[in-house]
Subunit: 247 residues, 2 copies
DNA sequence: CGTGTCATTGATCAGTTTCAAGAGTTGTGG
DNA sequence: CCACAACTCTTGAAACTGATCAATGACACG
């Protein structure tokens, strides 16, 4: 893979200049020098939906930034039962530092663009830039918060609430309609019914039934099984089963 | 709270010398100078079972190391449903850095000893010692792994498997019998049936029934509702519903 | 225009919850 | 030291939610 390594007048590699990971991701931690060093080793890859990025119990030889698309992280039991334990959107950092092998499965849920770095380069960067490690810590803490939030959904919510919670999460993460605070959202689901069921800890039939119910109740519109429109986010929120304690 | 601030010949505060957090926790990151600085601000506290350490949506004004006992982290929905999202054992670091207020509830599940530091002191230490932040990152990554592992239990395991998985986790964390690899374990449950149910996403009645079943099947012995003995860990493992993919 | 994958819908079934009652424990005060 | 109160735990029966099994429908692709 070849790309221009010209240095922009600001000292930032052209490849990195428009990159989301520089603004909001871990690369924002790097000064131009470090960024140039890392950019030399990186490779941009487009990955088709359904491709496996890292298998469970597989060696980790690279880390990546998610530049577009959705990556699903999953774990499975030996009898085939599967649980999706997280979704990553741009500009999340993908990979588990400080461990020889991954304990989770990473797979492209949609078409995905990654900016990948060899393991060694990331480890060098982690040593070189304190801010880099700091950002990693912050992202990890956020992921931990999200994981725990999801544990409440998995352990304590009913099937209708689970599906509503998922839709709300999607509306907040990948709403393609421009009007942010308009109270409505419209988006393509990045997951199949079966994947949603693995995320929510229910069956795909139940997911389907609950979506049908939400449509019948006028909470959502389903254009073509993949595309969903939520006219009133607040109505959807009411179906998520109450948030934090103390109103 | 007063304590001797004498400096041991090694330069390590006497209070810290025997401390588990120095050997395996975040304090191990600190050189004697930093350790002395931090020790000046710390206070050792004994907390009775059931006391709340940090409420949801409450300001975080201190961080702690868990020195003994078990701390339970939970989240709850507005209608009272509760989910325990993690347990912390010695010498875990307790608290959520970089956030004004906690989004989870921390409560002493058993009697607990803490070594608490004012927020500012920890933040100073995080700036002063790179290794300190590094250890925090490592612990956070481990907690994330554990949270995701638990998501599989919550989302994809049956009630019998959930209870077995919980017992196995306890056997590994707080086995009081000395013989480590003997294949047996004996311990006091740190949680009531109701708390176990909130951890496992089932009802306390179901927990009770499953424990009864495990006892009837000879997998565990129940001495007094709180104390459990597992004679064969491997038999217990078989009831956890299969671990990782690919045997 | 098959063929295969994914989604919907229906009917039945099983596991878990709910409701209810009783058995064990623990602590308190007479 | 015993009796009573307050819990926690166990057990049973009925009710329900969500799973399973099965058939059909929708859509994309060769």
């Amino acid at each position: 893979m070849t790309f221009r390594q010209d240095i922009h007048s600001s000292g930032i590699p052209v490849l990195c200049f428009p990159c989301e990971a520089r603004r909001r991701g871990v690369c924002g931690a790097l000064d131009p020098d470090n960024l140039v060093g890392l950019a030399k080793t990186c490779s941009r890859r487009r990955i088709e939906s359904g491709m496996e990025l890292t298998g469970e119990a597989q060696n980790v030889d690279s880390y990546s930034n998610v530049l577009s698309g959705v990556v699903k992280l999953s774990k499975s039991l030996s009898d085939g039962r599967q649980q999706i334990v997280g979704l990553q959107f741009a500009p999340d950092f993908l990979g588990r530092p400080f461990k020889e092998e991954s304990s989770i499965n990473a797979e492209a849920a949609t078409a995905v663009t990654l900016c990948s770095f060899p393991r060694a380069a990331v480890e060098r960067m982690m040593k070189a830039s304190r801010e880099f490690e700091h950002r990693l810590l912050k992202q990890t803490l956020n992921e931990l918060d999200e994981a725990r939030e999801w544990m409440v959904t998995l352990g304590r919510k009913t099937a209708p609430e689970k599906v509503a919670t998922f839709l709300l999460m999607m509306a907040r993460n990948i709403d393609s309609s421009l009007d942010a605070a308009s109270g409505s959202a419209s988006f393509d689901l990045p997951l199949t019914r079966a994947e949603m069921s693995d995320f929510l800890g229910i069956t795909s039939e139940t997911v389907s039934r609950q979506l049908t119910r939400l449509r019948a109740d006028g909470v959502i519109r389903i254009e073509n099984a993949r595309h969903v429109t939520v006219d009133s986010i607040s109505r959807l929120e009411k179906r998520c089963g109450g948030g934090r304690e103390r109103p």
